[in-house]
């Protein structure tokens, strides 16, 4: 009997792996919060409206999307649609939806601003659209500032002014750290740009670290050493592993936290009514006051066997009212021009702080600098991010001197460019 059930199981498993029905569309999806459930709901509605198409939603961890999906794609495997955050790196694997969608003009008008983020350089391809636009920015613990009697710096305040203010709060309120920034190259790029850094060389290849970049990194390492910044976050892993500093902020241990718009929902649920917090936008540097845009895209994949069905789903999901609903329910900033322009997003939260913060992020997106807007569409951004995080992390842990850090970052990036050319 045991044997029989094992045999049955074996055949079942073999069958399952080979049977891809016509009309099946697989979506690889990762979640940071509730978006998986919202998506499940929307997919269900789509299937009810389009009975011929069977959408299968594969929820995976982000690690799968980052590490395994590229390998699957190289082998010509993979799902039909995927939600990805490293959009540019794998652009050659995305399907061109232009001949397949009903109204390419609708796509160009509403998603045109980010279309370059997800297509090979120089092409006119429609690969998909952003499920979510993110923008980096700061959060301040208003209650801590109030208790310390320190005024929250205004919108034009610099990183130095923020550091000084947060330090006062730290000393008066006896919290362990004044500020923290996520261990992420994307996050730290925002202040670097505000200090005038530019990663992109004249030939479109990576340039060596310039004065702006070095200035801020030197300051940043100094701030970590004198305890202004929470050192824990940056030394807590090797390599370019991502670490968020949200926990300390949630615990009311941190006056100022630099992260981004995606934290809003997380902060709202975990902080609750423990203290008041506000989104502050990005502090300024000598050159500008920019945040870094980013986000996750839903893209169609070239190797699909059912391109028509894929396009049909993408068309449906890209509809204005669906994007609007998705954004409202997930508390994501939408990447759809008409939805943004018309405004009136009614984010589904009863947390007034979260609503205010989201509005603030929408405002802050208007001051995003030119360079910042270029980076998501630039092939070498991730290389830069990885090198900076790895080496700056080591420096803060005391393994490298600051000058060696710069030399190492440049060398790592140069090596990577060389590897890719091989």
């Amino acid at each position: 009997m045991k044997m029989k059930s094992i045999l049955a199981g074996a055949t079942l498993a073999l069958l399952m792996s080979t049977a891809a029905h016509a009309g099946d569309v697989r979506i690889m999806w990762y979640s940071d919060g509730v978006e998986g459930e919202v998506m499940k709901d929307l997919v269900g509605r789509f299937m009810k409206e389009n009975p011929g198409i069977n959408i299968i939603l594969d929820n995976v961890s982000y690690g799968v999307v980052r590490e395994q999906l590229p390998v699957q794609l190289e082998a010509g495997n993979g799902p039909d649609i995927a939600r990805v955050a490293q959009i540019k790196d794998n652009a050659r694997h995305w399907l061109d939806l232009r001949p397949l969608v009903k109204d390419p003009k609708y796509w160009d008008d509403n998603f045109g601003a980010q279309a370059d983020w997800m297509r090979p350089d120089g092409s006119k391809q429609i690969s998909g659209f952003m499920t979510q636009i993110t923008l980096t920015g700061g959060f301040a613990n208003k209650t801590l500032f109030d208790q310390a009697g320190v005024e929250i710096p205004g919108p034009k305040a610099t990183w130095e002014e923020w550091a000084a203010a947060a330090k006062k709060v730290k000393e008066s309120q006896q919290v362990p750290f004044a500020m923290a920034i996520d261990r992420s190259g994307h996050r730290i790029t925002a202040p670097l740009l505000s200090y005038g850094a530019n990663y992109i060389g004249k030939d479109g290849k990576p340039a060596p670290l310039d004065k702006g970049a070095k200035d801020f990194l030197t300051k940043f390492v100094g701030w970590n050493q004198d305890g202004s910044f929470s050192k824990d976050v940056w030394v807590s892993a090797a390599g370019n592993t991502y670490r968020a500093a949200a926990e300390d902020f949630i615990n009311g241990q941190l006056p100022f936290y630099y992260s981004g718009s995606w934290q809003v929902a997380n902060l709202a649920t975990k902080i609750g009514t423990n203290f008041d917090w506000v989104a502050t936008g990005s502090p300024c540097g000598p050159v500008t006051c920019t945040g870094m845009p980013g986000g996750a895209a839903l893209v169609a994949i070239k190797y699909t066997k059912n391109p028509k069905e894929v396009a049909q789903f993408m068309d449906w999901f890209a509809r204005e009212e669906i994007v609007k609903e998705f954004s409202e329910r997930t508390l994501f900033l939408p990447g759809h021009k008409a939805v943004v322009d018309k405004g009136g997003l009614d984010f589904k939260t009863d947390n007034a702080l979260a609503k205010a913060a989201l509005t603030k992020f929408v405002d802050a997106s208007k001051t995003t600098s030119e360079t910042a807007l270029k980076l998501p569409a630039w092939r070498w951004s991730d290389t830069f991010y990885a090198a900076i995080v790895t080496r700056v992390g080591q420096t803060i842990a005391g393994e490298l001197k600051i000058d060696d850090t710069f030399a190492r970052i440049d060398a790592d990036i140069a090596q990577k460019v060389k590897d890719a050319g091989q």
Partner: protein
């Protein structure tokens, strides 16, 4: 009582406390705390809300702030123990907080607002198990399917491991043939190669064999474990060759010798290998995560990883599902405890 305490406090030689008795008891009690404590802590943590998990100082048991419905307010309000200017403490409900001042009401007399500095109030807390950490994943988590996949992988891999490895061990221990020491050497040399080192080429092999997104792609690479061959061979070496020669005299075929004589005599070693294979395959994480990216093929370990996002990790779900995946292992442990411990003692691990 007398018998029990005598039993528990049994000492060396029976008279007085020798220093080794003290060391023994310190070691055992310390061991009990260190070995079990962490797992218990994990179980308690898995019942905390996301906010509770992030809290410091943490509490051992999951607590939440008590709430009360107060007349005139739609939503339940949180209860605090507030110190009033006159020095008395009262249980008040918080209406709202503005900056560092909290506006509170007495649930009994909801009309009057009292302003309290937020440092002068402490929440009234009550024990509450966040069972939604468990129930919610069950709703949108295809638990039975994942469980079946895990069981299928574990059972199949273990059966194949036992058969294939015992056959190889039989050949390597009971036959003299050319290349035997080479085969043994290769197996021993690869005893030390960890999976993560050959991951990239193994992936391309799996992919070209079409075993990608297939449970067999998880099962096959793990079954020819060198450790298994090593353990079984060491044990079979202790079976006297005379037994086999006698069977050959009786016209037994080699297969019969393997099946009817060698295997039954190797039972303790097989039991140990079976138990370890079950535990290993059940706990496998990295490799299934790479091979399986379709929902209907997930094993439990892969299933629970979907709560790690790019920017946030939903720890409350991960902890709860970790506890769920631990349950079968703990059950195996409780029921087969004697087998495991005496089995290892009995294997040819000498």
């Amino acid at each position: 009582m007398g018998v029990a305490s005598r039993f528990i406090l049994r000492r060396k030689g029976g008279k007085g406390w020798h220093w080794t008795d003290i060391v023994t008891w310190l070691w055992l009690v310390g061991g009990l705390i260190i070995m079990f404590g962490p797992a218990v802590w994990l179980v308690f943590s898995s019942f905390k809300t996301p906010a509770g998990l992030a809290e410091f100082p943490p509490s051992i048991l999951p607590y939440v702030t008590q709430q009360a419905t107060v007349q005139g307010y739609d939503k339940p309000l949180q209860l605090f123990e507030a110190k009033l200017p006159d020095g008395s403490t009262r249980v008040l409900a918080e209406v709202r907080r503005i900056g560092i001042m909290s506006q509170m009401v007495d649930p009994k007399t909801p009309g009057e607002l009292i302003r309290v500095n937020i440092n002068d109030r402490t929440p009234v807390r009550t024990l509450s198990f966040a069972t939604e950490n468990y129930t919610q994943p069950f709703v949108h988590f295809d638990f039975l399917r994942y469980l079946w996949n895990s069981v299928f992988v574990t059972v199949t891999a273990t059966l194949i491991t036992l058969i294939v490895n015992s056959m190889a061990a039989f050949a390597l221990s009971k036959y003299e043939f050319k290349g035997r020491s080479v085969a043994m050497l290769i197996i021993l040399a690869t005893l030390m190669v960890p999976l993560s080192v050959i991951m990239v080429p193994l992936y391309s092999i799996i992919s070209s064999l079409g075993l990608f997104n297939n449970l067999w792609g998880v099962i096959l690479p793990t079954v020819a474990t060198p450790t298994g061959v090593f353990i079984l061979r060491q044990y079979m070496l202790t079976i006297p060759d005379e037994l086999i020669d006698a069977a050959r005299m009786d016209k037994a075929s080699e297969w019969q010798i393997y099946w009817r004589i060698v295997l039954p005599l190797t039972a303790p070693a097989l039991a140990v290998l079976a138990i370890f294979s079950v535990v290993w395959r059940w706990n496998d994480f990295l490799w299934p995560l790479i091979v399986l990216s379709r929902r209907e093929l997930y094993t439990l370990q892969v299933g629970l990883s979907i709560y790690s996002g790019e920017l946030n990790v939903q720890w409350h779900f991960i902890l709860a599902m970790t506890v769920v995946t631990m349950i079968p292992v703990v059950l195996v442990f409780i029921f087969l405890q004697r087998f495991i411990t005496t089995g290892i003692a009995g294997t040819g691990l000498k």
